[in-house]
């Protein structure tokens, strides 16, 4: 009796690429979770005119393959480095001054939203990860497939 095994090279290739491909596949669920964190932060942002609430932005996933990392960044208050009179100069004291009373929302709105998800983040990410796409190498990068 003989047994022929085929597809060994393809299997090896898929295995070799699984790590980097899994990183790409993680971008989509991480982006989704980050958007949910952003929504939670928006809900708890102090609102007077809505300016600060409206500055929430979630960037598309940024892949750092050498470091084996994928990063989704939420920004609030405009680009970092904006002048003290700009939105950043407004966002920081609103976020950091715990003693200020707001009719709606409160300080640390973004921090609290992130910390609420931190403990379960890895589980949620694993549950939403498309392993098939990671194995096949068909996961999109950046905004693709999101």
């Amino acid at each position: 009796m003989t047994c022929e095994m085929t597809g060994v090279e393809e299997f090896k290739a898929s295995l070799k690429n699984f790590g980097p491909n899994a990183l790409k596949a993680a971008g989509k669920p991480l982006f989704q979770i980050t958007k949910e964190v952003e929504a939670d932060s928006r809900r708890n942002t102090p609102v007077e005119w809505g300016t600060l609430e409206g500055t929430h932005e979630t960037e598309f996933p940024n892949y750092e393959e050498e470091a084996g990392a994928v990063i989704c960044r939420i920004t609030v208050g405009g680009p970092t480095g904006e002048s003290p009179t700009g939105a950043m100069g407004y966002a920081v004291p609103v976020h950091e001054r715990m003693e200020v009373h707001h009719e709606r929302g409160g300080a640390k709105f973004l921090w609290n939203a992130v910390m609420k998800r931190l403990r379960t983040l890895h589980v949620e990410l694993a549950q939403r990860l498309d392993l098939q796409a990671a194995w096949n190498g068909t996961a999109g990068v950046g905004g693709e497939g999101i």
């Binding site: 003290p84 004291p93 950091e96 715990m98 003693e99 300080a107 640390k108 910390m115 403990r119």
Partner: protein
């Protein structure tokens, strides 16, 4: 004693030249240059085997320093010293509460100008510790 008092006592002991350390967010009218310790919700607490209820908690600590009008550097210098002393805390007991780690959260940032246009700068920390007595 709560976390604010524990940290303030620690900083006052380890570096008396930091001056009087205020507890909470209300800063006194004088002197201009002053350091304060305040708190914010950190993160979820954790239990431990063989221990019922909360064993460890993540507490947010914010240090604030104020300088004289148009002198943010003095505030930054004071906070810089306090920040370095506090960041050294590791596996030690502060006023009866065991502190495991202190992690800095970003750098020193301008927080606000007070009513007399004196600059206030701040720095955040995440502290892993056992529960304080109160």
């Amino acid at each position: 004693m709560g976390a604010i008092a524990e940290v303030a006592t620690f900083l006052g002991t380890v570096s008396p030249t930091l001056g009087t350390i205020k507890k909470g967010t209300a800063l006194p009218a004088t002197p201009d240059v002053v350091l304060a310790v305040t708190e914010f919700p950190g993160g979820p607490s954790a239990g431990a085997f063989g221990h019922a209820g909360i064993k460890y908690e993540l507490t947010g600590i914010q240090l604030r320093a104020r300088g004289a009008k148009n002198d943010e550097n003095a505030a930054r210098a004071l906070l810089h010293r306090a920040r370095h002393e506090f960041a050294k805390v590791q596996a030690q007991t502060l006023s009866g509460t065991y502190y495991l780690t202190v992690t800095t959260q970003g750098g020193i940032f301008p927080l606000m100008l007070d009513d007399d246009e004196r600059p206030v700068v701040a720095a955040n920390f995440l502290v892993e510790k056992e529960e304080s007595a109160t």
